[in-house]
Amino acid sequence: MRTSILSNAIAGAVCALMLSAPGAFAQGQPAKSPTLDKIQKAGTLNCGVNPGLAGFSMPDDKGLWLGIDVDLCRAVAAAIFNDPTKVKFIPMTAKDRFTALQTGEIDILARNGTWTMQRETELGLLFTATNYYDGQGFMVRKKLNVTSALELSQASICVQQGTTTELNLADFFRANNMKYEVIAFATSNEAVKAYDSGRCDAFTTDASGLYAERVKLANANDHVVLSEIISKEPLGPAVRQGDDIWFNIVKWAHFAMVNAEELGVNKGNADEQAKSIKPDVRRLLGVENEFGKFLGLSNDWAMRIIKHVGNYGESFERNIGAGSRLRIDRGVNKLWNKGGIMYAPPIR
């Protein structure tokens, strides 16, 4: 890497983003995470989130961010600082999210992003885990009497641009040899507004997003989410490549929450559970062994997450499930031993 201060300054004027944190990718010692160092120095974690998707990340009427993506960032902040409020939530459009992560403007991208091969290979990102297994669906007006997505031939469909949704939509209609008209908007909000005004027959996005947008509509009961799911959308947080420790921290923050649910450890009983004789629980809560050390964190890192944010099940119910306005069935997001596919490797 060139080090000339002058050339750096000029290049900075040409393209300030490209040059932020020029040292972030230097070869460091294996146990040190430059991203973690930077966050600890700054005292806050920069987390890129969706500007407003109920259940995933949306500010409430007091400006407090809520959602499972928000909880994930709070969990990481709790593990680092023992304080879930030390997160700066930066709303990202679908368009700028990857660039913001690549250039170091944000440390975690927890923006209901779909884990795809291209994003990991071409864009140089790493998805740490799947925190919501989703799939793309369609929402239509009840009065159209449509029961299947296969009946949508010749329909006008509103979509947010710059997402996998746009591609899945094209694939679905191409695969079924049907014609349609796509109207793509910069934001999900504009797309839903156009759908609501009658410009489109259907609105498409991930099924969770359909439920989230439906509650925002004036007359939610006039709209129905079709049962077909036309794609696999494993949603999860992503980090930059090149900082394996940081990748591990974000990955294991999620796994700690899933393991906690599996082991029956929750926000309320965490202190009590620390006295448990079960070795799994003792390792999770940092009573035995030193798993925190190899993440560059304190040994009670998972304990902090559970006490401040709760386990995965609690976060799900509070934001998306029965305890929320969305009331989405947990479905495949149930734990693996309860009929779902949510599975975390063991802490040992």
Binding site: M1, R2, S4, L6, S7, N8, I10, A11, A13, V14, C15, M18, L19, P22, F25, A94, K95, F98, T99, Q102, T103, E122, L123, G124, L144, L152, S153, Q154, A155, S156, C158, Q161, G162, T163, E166, L167, L169, A170, D171, F173, R174, Y180, E181, V182, I183, A184, F185, A186, T187, E190, A191, A194, S197, G198, R199, D201, R240, Q241
Partner: protein
């Protein structure tokens, strides 16, 4: 060099100073080049470090997404390069049509602001102050909502009154319309040469009668079905062929068949012919003082060959009527609400600035000019056309160019109302799909730069033509 400096001998130390200045200039230029080179190298290296692709290979990859409005053939299996082209053409179309309407509205409002009519002047003032003092993006949202909100869904489409109108025999129809156009244009062209006022009046009467018949047939067609058939070219039925709903305006469109191959070439040839004619007419005016009806004859040159081609193509010309198919209307030609709202919003917004520029231009012409023209016995419209506007244009053109450039650049707000312009397609979807940020932003910036420079070039050419030629 002006006479003042060349008549004086140069100072003794002029050469060294010039050399020194030159050396400094070259050194600075080299330094800037070097810094630029360093910057490019640095960016490229940092892009590699962040795994951001740094070549242009993505342009030939399959796009995989669909677009609803395209002037050229495009599907999900086309390349990103093709998608770029679609966006570019859409942007150019919006800019060209927006500039056309903004100019007309702007000139009308600018003149109205100076009108003696109190009402017209005040309305124009309110228009200018309201439109130019609110953000364009809000106006676009407003128009998009205002266009969409009152319109019904496709199954309850409004069928406009014309619109039980159908051309059963396109060949005969085209022939009749061509004959009518021909007759009218010839009449208008030679109206000043005709001496006998009776012949003149008869010509006007025939032309007016034909016009009235057409209008009656179009407006009241369905109710006077027999009448339409009597005209011979229009088969009037109860049933609509023009629809308006919240998916757009659907119009019948001739499918040209064999004529489609020849038509573009013939229109181009006609355009060249019309331009040539206007130059010839100008030379006639300047050399011999003969004033020819340039506008009408140009229209004749433009329309007649095209109409004859369509007529000659005969039965292969059919008319494609929009019909309800599934959820939407298919067939014919369609004006999309996104396109309409964008052009409307951009035209009205830019027109408010153009109106002020036009007002400034007119006010810059001294009052004595029109008084002198009046004293020479010229009429008001002639004064405006030959005395005021040519002088006002010198003040108007440079800032007008700026407004044209603004309109073109502002068209990139299309993304917010779902119109697939260059920015929406290329900087939106393609950038997100490929991650080729630097390349895509650079290409897009270069495209806007080229469009702007070409617009400026054309306007500068026009400006030079209009400029006061000092002797």
């Amino acid at each position: 060099m002006s006479d003042a400096t060349s008549s004086r001998p140069p100072p003794r130390d002029a050469r060294p100073v010039e050399w020194r200045a030159l050396a400094i200039q070259i050194a600075i230029a080299l330094a800037i080049l070097w810094l630029g080179w360093q910057a490019i190298g640095n960016v490229a290296e940092n892009m590699r470090a962040r795994n951001i692709p740094s070549n242009f290979d993505f342009l030939s990859a399959t796009a995989g997404f669909d677009l609803n409005q395209s002037l050229i053939a495009y599907s999900a299996t086309s390349t990103y390069g093709r998608a770029f082209l679609v966006g570019l053409l859409n942007t150019l179309a919006v800019a060209a049509i927006g500039i056309f309407f903004a100019t007309i509205i702007g000139f009308a409002v600018g003149v109205a602001r100076l009108s003696q009519n109190w009402m017209a002047a005040k309305l124009a003032t309110i228009y200018v102050e309201v439109i130019r003092n609110t953000p364009l993006l809000l106006q676009l949202f407003f128009w998009y909502t205002a266009v969409l909100a009152p319109l019904p869904g496709p199954r309850q489409s409004i069928s406009l009154p014309a619109l039980g109108l159908r051309m059963p025999d396109p060949q005969a129809g085209m022939a009749a319309i061509t004959a009518f156009a021909l007759a009218s244009f010839v009449l208008l062209s030679v109206r000043n040469q005709i001496k006998g006022s009776a012949i003149k009046a008869a010509g006007y009467a025939i032309s007016a009668l034909f016009m009235i018949l057409m209008i009656v047939a179009i407006l009241f067609g369905p109710r006077v079905a027999g009448f339409g058939n009597a005209v011979g070219i229009l088969d009037i039925r109860d049933g609509a062929y023009v629809f308006l709903n919240n998916r757009g305006l659907f119009l019948p469109f001739p499918s040209l068949g064999e004529a489609a191959i020849w038509l573009p070439a013939i229109i181009l040839a006609s355009a060249i012919g019309a331009t040539g004619f206007s130059f010839w007419a100008k030379s006639q005016r300047e050399e011999k003082g003969r004033i020819l009806p340039v506008f009408w004859i140009s229209m004749l040159i433009l329309i007649v060959p095209a109409a004859l081609t369509i007529w000659a193509a005969g039965s292969s010309v059919t008319i494609d009527y929009p019909q309800l198919r599934g959820f939407n209307l298919a067939g014919g030609v369609r004006v999309y609400p996104e396109f309409f709202a964008l052009v409307l919003g951009l035209s009205l917004y830019t027109a408010s600035f153009i109106a002020e520029i036009v007002r400034a231009g007119i006010l810059s012409v001294a009052k004595g000019q029109s008084e002198a023209a009046l004293a020479l016995g010229l009429r008001r419209p002639t004064i405006l056309k030959l005395v005021i506007i040519p002088q006002a244009m010198r003040v108007v053109i440079p800032p007008l160019t700026n407004q044209y450039l603004n309109l073109t650049k502002n068209s990139s707000l299309a993304v917010f109302i779902g119109f697939p312009d260059l920015v929406q397609i290329f900087v939106g979807t393609v950038l997100n799909q490929t991650g080729a940020m630097i390349q895509i932003i650079s290409i897009t910036m270069a495209v806007y730069l080229v469009i702007s420079l070409l617009t400026s070039l054309a306007m500068n050419f026009y400006n030079n033509k209009m400029a006061l030629s000092e002797r």
